[in-house]
C-alpha cells in the first residue's frame, strides 16, 4: 500500500466570488507584461518624471517655508528671472499655480511615456488570445465577457496607474510633508482629485482603444503599428495642418511686420517708436492667433492633443498661466498666456472625440470578442 497516493486527490478549498474574477486576468497580464526586459526598463524610466516632480514640489515647499536649505536655489532662480520677486516675497500666494504647472509638465511627459508603455504591452493583450484561440478557455469558465475585458483593461490600468496615478499621490504626500502646512490640502486637494481623474481618463480612453485595436488582428505587430500611427502620424498630421491653418490666418488677417532697421547694430538704431510698433504688431499677432485657435479643429486629429486638452481643463492649467501672467507687464500678459497655454478650442470637442473613440472601441470589442453563442 503506497504511503502517499500521487494520483488524483480531491480538493476542498474555497473559491472566491464572481466579482473578483477580472482581477485574476489582470494579475496574469501584469505577470506576462513584466517578463519583457524592454518594457521593464521603460516602466522604470516612466518613474523618473515622478522623481523630478517630487523634487520640485519638495523644493517649493521649502521655499514656502523660507528654509535656509533652499536659499541658494532661490537666489539662482531669481537671478535667472525664473522666480519673480513678487513670488519670492510671498510664495504661498502662488502655491496652487506652481503646483498646477508642475503637475501639468509631469502629465505631458507621462503622456508620451504612457503611449510607449501601451505600445509595448497593449497589442498582445487580446490579439495573442485570438491567435492561440484562448477565448473558449476563458469563456467556458465562470467569467463573463465584461470580466474578460475588465481584466485586460486592468493590465493597462495597473501599468499606467503605476506610472501616473501612484506618483501623483506619492509626490502630493511628499509636498505636504515638506511644507508642514495643512493649508496646502485646502489649496490643492482639487488638483489632487483632478490629477487622479485625468490619470483615469488616460487609462480608460487609451486602454479601451488599444484593446479594440488588439482585438482586430491576431498579429500584435500590426496592432503596434496601428497604435503608433494613431499616436505619431495623427500628431504629425495635426501639427502640419495647424501650421498651414495659422499661416493662412496670418496671411489673410495680418499686415506685414513693420519695417525695422537691419544690420549688425540694428537694435541700437531702433527708436522707441520702432520698438512700440514691433511690440504692438507682435501683440496683435498673438491675439489673432489665440482668437483663431478658439475655432481650430485640427488638434482634434492628434490623439494625445485631445488627452492634453482634457488634462488642461481638469488641472486648471490655463487659469494658472493667467494668474502668473499678471506678474508680467500688461502688454506682455496676453503673449505669456498664448505662448504657454495650448490651443483654446472648447475642451468638450476633445471630450467628444474621446467619447466617440470609446464608443467605437466598445462596439469593436463586442464584435471581436464574441461569446460562444454562435455556430462555428
Amino acid at each position: 500500500m503506497p504511503i502517499f497516493d500521487q494520483g488524483y486527490q480531491h480538493w476542498k478549498g474555497h473559491l472566491s466570488g464572481h466579482g473578483w474574477r477580472w482581477l485574476a486576468i489582470a494579475r496574469h497580464g501584469v505577470r506576462i507584461g513584466l517578463q519583457g526586459r524592454v518594457f521593464r526598463i521603460v516602466l522604470l524610466v516612466s518613474l523618473l518624471p515622478a522623481l523630478v516632480l517630487a523634487t520640485v514640489l519638495s523644493i517649493w515647499s521649502l521655499i514656502e517655508r523660507k528654509s535656509d536649505l533652499v536659499g541658494p536655489i532661490v537666489q539662482f532662480l531669481s537671478s535667472m528671472q525664473i522666480l519673480s520677486p513678487t513670488v519670492a516675497a510671498d510664495p504661498r500666494q502662488y502655491r496652487l499655480e506652481v503646483w498646477t504647472l508642475c503637475y501639468n509638465y509631469f502629465f505631458s511627459t507621462e503622456l508620451t511615456l504612457s503611449m510607449i508603455l501601451i505600445v509595448l504591452v497593449g497589442p498582445n493583450l487580446i490579439s495573442q488570445d485570438l491567435r492561440f484561440n484562448a477565448l473558449p478557455l476563458y469563456l467556458s469558465r465562470p467569467l463573463r465577457r465584461i470580466d474578460y475585458l475588465g481584466g485586460k483593461l486592468g493590465v493597462i490600468g495597473a501599468f499606467l496607474g503605476l506610472a501616473i496615478i501612484v506618483p501623483c499621490l506619492v509626490t502630493y504626500a511628499l509636498g505636504l510633508l515638506f511644507s508642514l502646512d495643512v493649508t496646502i490640502v485646502r489649496d490643492t486637494y482639487r488638483l489632487l482629485l483632478a490629477s487622479v481623474a485625468y490619470g483615469l481618463v488616460i487609462i480608460v480612453c487609451s486602454g479601451m482603444l488599444i484593446l479594440a485595436l488588439s482585438s482586430l488582428s491576431r498579429n500584435s505587430r500590426y496592432v503596434a503599428l496601428f497604435w503608433v500611427s494613431i499616436w505619431i502620424v495623427g500628431g504629425l498630421a495635426s501639427t502640419i495642418l495647424e501650421g498651414v491653418y495659422y499661416g493662412q490666418v496670418a496671411a489673410s488677417q495680418m499686415s506685414r511686420p513693420p519695417e525695422m532697421p537691419r544690420g549688425r547694430d540694428a537694435r541700437r538704431r531702433m527708436t522707441p517708436a520702432d520698438l512700440e510698433k514691433q511690440q504692438n504688431w507682435a501683440e496683435d499677432f498673438q491675439t489673432r492667433m489665440a482668437e483663431a485657435s478658439k475655432t481650430d479643429w485640427r488638434p482634434l486629429i492628434s490623439y494625445t492633443s485631445n488627452l492634453s486638452r482634457i488634462g488642461r481643463e481638469l488641472l486648471g492649467t490655463d487659469a494658472a498661466w493667467r494668474k502668473l501672467s499678471e506678474l508680467q507687464p500688461a502688454q506682455m500678459r496676453g503673449r505669456v498666456v498664448a505662448s504657454n497655454a495650448g490651443p483654446l478650442y472648447p475642451w468638450y470637442w476633445s471630450a467628444g472625440v474621446l467619447a466617440g473613440l470609446f464608443v467605437i472601441s466598445v462596439c469593436v470589442l463586442s464584435l471581436s470578442v464574441r461569446s460562444l453563442d454562435r455556430l462555428r
Binding site: G13, L15, A24, H28, R131, F132, L137, S140, R141, L143
Partner: protein
C-alpha cells in the same frame, strides 16, 4: 441527476441545433454520440450556460442552466474540442491560471496545478512552454486545467481527436480513472465509438437536434437470442455449410461463425450438428449488438 433538459430548443437563424430536446442523465460516465451537426456541441454549450436557449428549461447538477450559468461553470470542468491555449506560459502557469480563473487563490491553484500535472503525466514538462507541447500533451494539459478545481462534472468534447494511439489510450485511461476511482461524472462527446464504449456506461445519441436514443450501453447492446457466435477448432466453412442444410443462416465474421437458428429450435441443434460433423466448439454465446450497430440503428430510426 447529473443534468436534465425539458423541451429545449435552440436555433441559429434557420438552423435548428436543438429541437425540443428532453433528456436526463444520471451521475456517472455519459457518452454523447451523434453525427456532425447533430447538436452535441450546442448541447454542451447549453449545459455550460454559454448559449441562450430559445425555449425549454433544465438543470445541471441541480442548478437552473438559464439562471445560474456562472455557478454551473464553477462546478464543471470543460475540455474544449479546439486547440486552444493561454499564450506565453509554461505548463504549470497554464494550469495555475485556469485555477485562478475559477476562483482559486494563487497559492492553492499553484499547489493543485503541480498535483494535477503529475496526475496527467506532464510532471516532467511542467516548466516547458505550452506552445511547444505535442497534440497529446496539449490535450492532457487541457484536461489538467479542467480538473484543477476538482469539478463534480467533467465535459470532454472530442478529446481524442488527432491523437496517436498511445496518447489516446493514455487519455482514455485517465478519463476512466477519474470516473471509476475518483467519483467524477463525465460527459464524453466523441465520434469514436470504441472510445465512448471504453469509458462510458451510458450513452445519449443525438440526431438533428433530437434525442434518438439514450440508456445503459450494456442494455442497449441487446441480446439476439436466435443468433449465436460460434468459434470452432479448425476450419469453420464445412460446418457452416452443414448448418445451412439444417435451415440455419450461417456466415463468417472475422474468425467466428455467426449462426441464426430457425424459429422454435434451441442451441442444442448446434451441439448436435457439431457432433455429427466431428468438429469441436470452443465458444458458443448469444450474440450482442455492437455499439456501432446500436448507433446506426438509432440514426436509422431518427
Amino acid at each position: 441527476m447529473l443534468f436534465q433538459f425539458e423541451g429545449v430548443t435552440k436555433t441559429y437563424g434557420r438552423v435548428v441545433a436543438l429541437d425540443n430536446l428532453s433528456v436526463s442523465a444520471p451521475t456517472g460516465a455519459i457518452g454523447l454520440l451523434g453525427p456532425n451537426g447533430s447538436g452535441k456541441t450546442t448541447m454542451i454549450r447549453s449545459l455550460l450556460g454559454l448559449t441562450r436557449v430559445d425555449r425549454g428549461s433544465g438543470q445541471v447538477l441541480g442548478m437552473d442552466f438559464r439562471r445560474r450559468q456562472l455557478d454551473i461553470r464553477r462546478s464543471v470542468g470543460f475540455v474544449p474540442e479546439d486547440e486552444c491555449l493561454f499564450p506565453h506560459v509554461v505548463g504549470v502557469e497554464f494550469v495555475t491560471y485556469a485555477g485562478e480563473l475559477v476562483g482559486m487563490s494563487t497559492k492553492d491553484a499553484m499547489q493543485r496545478a503541480h498535483e494535477v500535472l503529475d496526475y496527467v503525466g506532464l510532471g516532467e514538462a511542467r516548466y516547458r512552454k505550452a506552445e511547444s507541447y505535442s497534440t497529446g500533451m496539449k490535450q492532457r494539459l487541457k484536461l489538467a486545467s479542467a480538473i484543477v478545481h476538482d469539478p463534480k462534472l467533467l465535459i470532454m468534447d472530442e478529446p481524442t481527436n488527432g491523437m496517436d494511439p498511445r496518447g489516446r489510450e493514455e487519455l482514455l485511461e485517465l478519463s476512466r480513472d477519474l470516473v471509476r476511482n475518483k467519483g467524477m461524472s463525465l460527459l464524453f462527446s466523441s465520434h469514436l465509438l470504441p472510445d465512448v464504449e471504453s469509458v462510458c456506461d451510458q450513452i445519449i445519441v443525438l440526431g438533428r437536434g433530437k434525442l434518438l436514443t439514450e440508456g445503459n450501453i450494456q442494455q442497449l447492446k441487446q441480446l439476439h437470442n436466435r443468433t449465436f457466435e460460434v468459434r470452432l477448432k479448425g476450419e469453420g466453412r464445412p460446418f457452416a455449410e452443414s448448418l445451412s442444410g439444417l435451415g440455419c443462416v450461417a456466415k463468417m465474421r472475422d474468425d467466428a461463425l455467426l449462426v441464426e437458428i430457425p424459429e422454435g429450435r434451441t442451441q442444442q441443434m448446434l451441439w448436435e450438428a457439431a457432433a455429427q460433423q466431428q468438429v469441436q466448439i470452443r465458444t458458443l454465446r448469444e450474440q450482442r449488438s455492437t455499439l456501432e450497430e446500436v448507433f446506426l440503428k438509432a440514426l436509422g430510426q431518427g
